[in-house]
């Protein structure tokens, strides 16, 4: 059966695998550059740009480079996108996960914490309200909600459309609990 599998790699595809799998290295290096300190989204975006530029450079001038066809380029792009999304998932868990944030808070406290202490100590003492502020500013920035005299209001077109789409997705996927 294995005889029917063709594992041969063209340089374009090989370079995509190499440039994509090294994305965590670019990310770790860029995170150490002072102008990007604390700017997580920008760090990941820049790492992805480095990955793409490196791939293009290798395809154009690397060993064994040749005139690649459209299909070959397409396969290379799909590999780069798939690898980037995989790392983005892992990196999002590290930088944005509420559950893992609570676990790390408990671990760093190095002693038992009751519910209130844990909530207060969350994210180095920022507390749970930090999550609310951070998520709300994102929603306002995206035009999905607006603040009006202490009230948070769903915007009539974009906010309602996204919320309805979200509700439909939950139904289609058959999820019992979310968020």
């Amino acid at each position: 059966m294995i005889d029917w599998l063709d594992f041969s790699l063209t340089p374009t595809v090989l370079y995509a695998l190499v440039a994509g799998s090294a994305l965590p290295i670019y990310l770790a290096l860029i995170a150490r550059l002072t102008p990007f300190s604390g700017r997580k989204a920008l760090q990941f975006l820049l790492s992805s740009v480095v990955m793409i530029v490196l791939w293009i450079g290798l395809v154009a001038a690397g060993p064994g480079s040749h005139s690649a066809g459209r299909a070959e380029i397409g396969i290379g792009v799909m590999i780069l996108v798939a690898e980037s999304l995989f790392y983005l998932e892992v990196w999002s868990l590290l930088s944005r996960s509420y559950t893992l944030g609570l676990l790390v808070t408990l671990y760093r406290a190095n002693r038992p914490l009751d519910e209130e202490e844990l909530a207060r100590s969350y994210r180095g003492g920022s507390g749970l309200s930090w999550i609310m502020e951070q998520r709300l500013s994102g929603l306002i920035g995206a035009g999905l909600v607006r603040e009006d005299d202490g009230m948070v209001v769903l915007t009539p077109v974009r906010g309602v459309a996204v919320a309805c789409l979200y509700r439909l997705s939950i139904m289609v996927l058959g999820l019992r609990r979310t968020g």
Partner: protein
């Protein structure tokens, strides 16, 4: 090449179909585990079936197509399954006037429902236990937290949440 792309896309379609069934019948497994385990299982099955057909299968184009589509789907699924922001939108959609006080959302959802659910997840996964004094990490939780801590230091992530 076209055949390889079609095979990868067909494998992804089979994955979606499998998922829609599995998410409805798996009551004891978390949806996150269902979607990731199904992605790997369907991929393995797709390669075995393709190689059994007696025609040459271009491994990398088939794999690239399948994982490109699967990664895009998993990204969206992650947002639907765990996003606090989307959950806040849905909460607002169900409120009178599609509006709520800031403190109302914070207390009802972030500090109560979502917080309690995550504490339950930590206990169900065996990462933390609730003792008489409060919550503490288990040896398993300590191992995972130390890995996360090391990775956060590597990527200069001060804290998560």
């Amino acid at each position: 090449m076209r055949q390889a792309l079609g095979l990868g896309a067909a494998g992804f379609t089979a994955y979606l179909g499998t998922l829609l069934v599995m998410l409805r019948v798996s009551h004891r497994t978390t949806p996150a585990l269902v979607v990731t385990a199904s992605a790997l299982a369907v991929y393995g099955a797709m390669i075995v079936v393709a190689a059994s057909l007696g025609r040459t299968v271009l491994f990398w184009p088939v794999s690239a197509t399948y994982w490109f589509l699967a990664a895009c789907f998993l990204m969206g699924f992650g947002a639907i399954y765990k996003s606090i922001s989307l959950r806040i939108l849905l909460d607002l959609l169900n409120r009178p006037g599609r509006a709520d006080r800031y403190e109302g959302i914070l207390n009802r959802y972030v500090q109560e429902e979502s917080y309690q659910r995550r504490l339950s997840v930590l206990q169900e996964a065996g990462l933390a236990i609730r003792g008489t004094v409060g919550y503490e990490v288990t040896p398993k939780g300590r191992r995972l937290a130390s890995i996360i801590d090391a990775l956060q230091r590597l990527f200069k992530i001060e804290s998560s949440g």
